[in-house]
Subunit: 751 residues, 2 copies
């Protein structure tokens, strides 16, 4: 669902080594593990990846489609063919599909939008019209509205602040927003909050059309009539089936009536192409859009309202559709009740070659390779569960319903969840729990980049060095001297329920950054496009299978789970500094702005021909008491260091002490650390989200908010709430410290 | 010639006062001066400004045109009508005009560029085709070349570094560059240095066409076929008549043969509209332009070379044309040999309403008002000279030739030169010698903004506060607590010869920032455009007359010239810090880049499908000895403080000591300070430019380089030259200190 677009990882120049110690392994066990890993990495095959993609993307395979079910059954059959235990679990979920779609301009000129993507003759699957889901946004409500247009840029809260300054209201209007700047579902949500009655979202050619590069089929970018489907469910409240929040959408689950569902939009919303958008935008008048709001169409961007007036009519089938999650288990030999879970979705919006098959194929190669190793005698210590999720696109349905259904067992057993969702050429990009940062650095040092002929870790580091601004001396020094930092997880793929709802340490990975395109969620995301413009020889698909598979194996067979609290604590320190700075900056900003209002600065700079309202004066924020966060952090820091000492001791003499320890008990304590980072009451405005370190932003959707309860309270200037949350999050850090101390105590018993 | 596009001034919240002391005035003299100034400011009349513009822009009035001569004679007649002594001084200068212009694409499709701006029916003067200069760049050489196109972004040195990284050479190619990023003459200069054989410069719609706002005649921005004429003479070497460098182009002046002229381009160059550019750019292929290089056309920007191949043929009449400078003198009563000079050009590229009449009109109103005051008994102490320059557009011809002709007398007598060049709505924008910073702040506090109903100074301050980035706490504190800083002068208008060649303290001023447009140097810069889209009621034209006229009067009648060395020294400190930081940063950058080359970073991040060459390894720069600059600065600082003390003493008791001082001697010393900032040998690579604090950049053209000899040596990594120049500029600062000390000594005699 979400594509990689930036380089997530931050950096220690060291040469790749496929030998040497492995964290959590005794010396002998490490040697054995490295041998199995080397065998594993030789197996994934680019030709197989190509064949999987050709088969899986041959026809549209969205939720509820015949080919979607067929794909699930084929994946399960393949797993069984490789000697693995594969099951299909089904759920029944709300999945609306379009019954009627109409967009027409009624004034000042008549124009009817095509809202259709034409077949391209070079591209054989683009003509499968009968099976294609039309261009629409899933979980938009039905509607029939006519109103003047207002252009709202990305349609995020800051854009409405600017519209207020310009004296433009969207009340009673239909807004037209461009894709980008936030997850798409934020746009109708914020538009509705401001009184708009409809919402159009278009793909501006500056972002992924001709301004970005040659358009399909001449190049990989979005052609004039290409549009981006996608979910607009209010997932920052809760993802998954809208009718069964918090519980699995099994046959007999209790369901909310549609009228009580909170995650549908409040206004009708539809995505359109830039071909459809241009006549609408060109017919607008009123103030000229601020420079940063202008896109790549050959027109002057006006804000309106009107004179362009449009009629938007949307009607959906509010049907329940079956989901088919493919669940493949490799039982653990030593710790069968500690689970390493690996997932990638199989459903798409249309043919979905890049999204999701380019990530699913490598996962299948991991399964095939492990099937081969099992035949050779390999036995992972922990249980490995491979999951091909259905229904990711509409709202992380398959993973969320499965996680909710099995919540109790997962909370006891799940150690780590590893996700991917599409793959491309370039640099390994990893986001995840920082307890896994050290681990993932160790894996990246053992994988070869297929083009650069150096390790993927070295490429990641080089990219960090190259992208650091000239003045960022500290950043470059860091990239040269420690593990590369990984970004935090927001949302946009199937790790969400595992990490945010259940508190399971998670990572998301994929290669990317070297190929762009504009076929995302369109009929052109298909085999033809992928094999012409993306990882055309599947070399990076093979690298993804090697990276994710090595991760799974190394996690599965470690005597001690290789979680680390040192890098984790270091990152928490950064987050605490950030929220304190945020509070300070917010205060300074309000004080300065109030002063400028008093001084008459805004009146003085006003241009009477293009008036801008002065911003409203605001109450000066109080200074916040961050001591509870600092106290919690101090406890965390202390226990993290103690665990490091205990681990170093346990690792002496080839890990002799490890043999004496009750590994099951230590591992259980280690697994409990990420759980300790959750609060059952959840975040202030959304109780489904339990994790207190990471959450998707309430007003960003994809973009992560770290220490979300504290950070979002400050951002929304709710100072009282912020102080309350500082206390709670401080306690969470203390809890995590206690959990770490539990592991240390267990480990020290073996001394 | 050059338009104001940014806010130049930087800031003390205090209320406007038209009473109180005036620097350089005894108490009684200040009172009298303020009364005359108040009378003066009541006179300028918006209706008169409108009438001047209508008359002066009624027909094309470029160098050598019948209407240009007619305008000069009309201005002189007007001045005489107002009771002033007006003369016309003539010079004979090289001014090429087009004889043949052809631009056609020969491959892969045939296309012939229009290179013509169509008449617009609403706009009466746009149809005066017979008298219009066609679209061309003056001082391009003749040429007849055919070659593939390469797109070079702005065509500045950094762009060629990027092309080198991408492996693209312009050798033997015709480059197409967009306007912006530098003065236009830099583009063919740098293209020629890199081996290109021709150059096209087009106006991208992102910069001043539809992407910036509605296009003419619906709005003020550039229509599809609008093009920007302009000079491409190599003015950073020397401006003025190419055949008479350093001397006046009088009838009998010794002239260089055309073959020895150094300021013509080395390759043929022509400006084109975006209507003409689009088919050429659309026909290009090869690498896609880097994101920052892409403009607003609805195409994918490719770099080439080719397959688009163009044929450019240019032939010019290499004629000598007469210039008509209008020189108006108001003799000084007390210090007739101390001159305050005020200028604005009268020539245009076509009808030139905005450029230059919107600035010339206010200057005429200043003359008319002073004529009126003279009749009422006002007598300025110093001689005032008003100059309406001819030939500014092709190369600052009229002002440069006049300044060179009268160089010896000007060096003895000229105290201050005040320039304007076009005017618009908005904020007062001032750049100039920092010895005038305090003075210009005092004037701005006495002028009312016609729309905001506060002083223009308060608006300037408010804009500074509003534009300061949120984190720029020090910048805002400064804007609230001291004089607003003024920017330094680069080039682009008639102050150049006065400041840079002769060392006469200069300022350039005008209102702007609230109206944009895309008619610069086109046939649409005319009365219709100006009265529909710019300072339509001439309210800011009146404000410019008030500001510049008050400046002239206050400078002309001060007992002591109100130059100040305190703000000046403060600014010099900043410049010295800047060049030291520049040297440090250059060194750090080279060290870091070399390290990354050694580490293999560039190879590691390379995408084999879009390869980029690693930059070349460079010798590590030495640390430079900045002590001579610091020593010079210390001397300057000491003497500036001593002058302040002496001035404070002289000002006691209503300026009683002033009456005893030999003001003529003190003033002579004050005038000498700016002269002391020059070196007769000039800058290292261009001896016409004598000033050692300010110069237009050798590779920016408009953009100023402060401490140019030092700064440009560092930028060009000529470390040996930099060390030599540090010594010379250090000595210059000492010289300035000595000149200031001379004034202090004279002033102290009156104790």
């Amino acid at each position: 669902m979400k594509r990689f677009v930036v380089y997530f990882l931050c950096a220690t120049l060291a040469s790749a080594a496929e030998s040497g110690p492995l964290r959590g392994y005794s010396t002998d066990a490490a040697r054995t593990e490295r041998e199995w890993e080397a065998k594993f990495r030789a197996i994934p095959d680019s030709a197989a990846l190509r064949a999987y993609m050709q088969r899986l993307s041959a026809r549209p395979h969205h939720v509820g489609s015949p080919y979607g079910k067929d794909n699930a059954e084929w994946i399960a059959a393949k797993a069984r063919e490789w000697g693995l235990d594969a099951q299909i679990e089904t759920f029944d979920v709300l999945f609306p599909t379009p019954k009627e779609r109409l967009l027409e301009m009624t004034e000042p000129v008549r124009f009817t939008a095509k809202i259709a993507e034409p077949a391209v003759s070079a591209d054989p699957t683009s003509s499968q019209r009968d099976e294609q889901l039309p261009v629409y946004n899933a979980y938009s409500i039905d509607g029939d509205v006519t109103a003047p247009l207002v252009y709202v840029n990305y349609g995020i809260p800051a854009d409405y602040e600017e519209l207020d300054r310009l004296g433009i209201s969207v009340k009673g209007a239909i807004v037209i927003a461009r894709y980008g700047g936030s997850w798409r579902g934020i746009k109708p949500k914020v538009a509705g909050e401001h009184g708009a009655i409809g919402c159009l979202i278009y793909s501006d050619p500056r972002d992924d059309g001709y301004a970005a590069g040659d358009v399909f089929p001449n190049g990989p970018f979005r052609p004039s009539d290409g549009a981006q489907r996608g979910s607009v469910m209010d997932m920052p409240v809760y993802p998954g089936d809208p009718m069964t929040p918090g519980v699995g959408a099994t046959k007999d689950a209790k369901r909310l009536p549609l009228s009580e569902v909170k995650t549908l939009t409040t206004i009708p919303v539809m995505p359109i192409s830039y071909g459809d958008a241009q006549p609408l935008l060109a017919a607008m008048n009123g103030r000229i859009a601020p420079p940063a709001w202008r896109g790549g169409l050959p027109i002057t961007y006006h804000l309106g309202p009107g004179p362009a007036k449009v009629h938007l009519k949307l009607k959906f089938n509010w049907d329940t559709k079956p989901l088919y999650d493919v669940i493949v288990r490799i039982p653990g030999s030593t710790f069968p009740d500690e689970w390493i879970i690996r997932g990638n979705h199989h459903d798409a919006w249309v043919n979905g070659a890049e999204d999701p098959i380019s990530g699913l194929g490598p996962m299948m190669e991991e399964m095939r390779a492990m099937g081969t190793l099992l035949k050779q005698g390999w036995r992972p210590k922990r249980t490995i569960i491979y999951c091909a999720w259905d229904g990711e696109e509409p709202g992380l349905l398959g993973s969320t319903e499965w996680a909710e259904t099995h919540a109790a067992e997962l909370q006891r057993k799940a150690a780590v969840y590893i996700n991917s969702d599409g793959n491309g050429r370039g640099i390994l990009q990893v986001e995840g729990s920082h307890t896994l940062e050290k681990f993932i650095n160790s894996v990246a040092k053992d994988i070869d980049d297929p083009e650069a002929k150096i390790t993927v870790w070295k490429r990641m580091q080089a990219m960090r060095l190259a992208l650091a601004p000239e003045a960022a001396v500290a950043e470059r020094a860091e990239a040269r001297s420690r593990d590369l930092r990984i970004g935090a997880l927001g949302s946009g793929s199937d790790y969400t329920a595992f990490l945010d709802h259940l508190g399971i340490a998670s990572v998301n990975m994929g290669f990317g950054g070297e190929d762009g395109g504009g076929i995302y969620h369109s009929i052109y995301d298909d085999f033809y496009w992928y094999t012409h413009f993306a990882d055309t020889d599947f070399a990076y698909g093979r690298a993804l299978a090697q990276t994710a598979g090595t991760s799974v194996m190394r996690l599965a067979s470690a005597e001690l789970l290789p979680l680390d609290f040192d890098n984790f604590t270091d990152t928490i320190r950064k987050y605490i500094d950030e929220v304190q700075k945020l509070a300070r900056d917010k205060r300074d900003q309000i004080v300065e702005r109030n002063r400028q209002i008093d001084e008459g600065v805004f009146a003085a700079i006003n241009d009477p021909r293009r008036p801008r309202n002065a911003p409203p004066k605001e109450t000066t924020p109080p200074f916040l008491n961050f001591a509870p966060l600092e106290n919690g952090f101090a406890a965390l820091l202390r226990t993290a260091k103690a665990y490091d000492d205990a681990l170093a001791h346990a690792g002496e003499n080839g890990g002799a002490a490890l043999a004496r320890a009750s590994l099951r008990d230590v591992n259980a304590r280690l697994i409990a650390v990420e759980r300790a980072l959750t609060l059952n009451e959840g975040l202030p405005n959304r109780d489904w989200f339990k994790h207190q370190i990471y959450a998707p932003g309430f007003y960003t959707g994809y973009g992560v908010k770290t220490l979300p309860a504290v950070r979002e309270s400050i951002e929304q200037k709710d100072w009282k709430l912020a102080e309350e949350q500082i206390v709670k999050v401080g306690k969470v850090l203390e809890n995590a410290g206690e959990a770490i101390q539990g592991a240390t105590t267990e480990l020290d018993r073996a001394k």
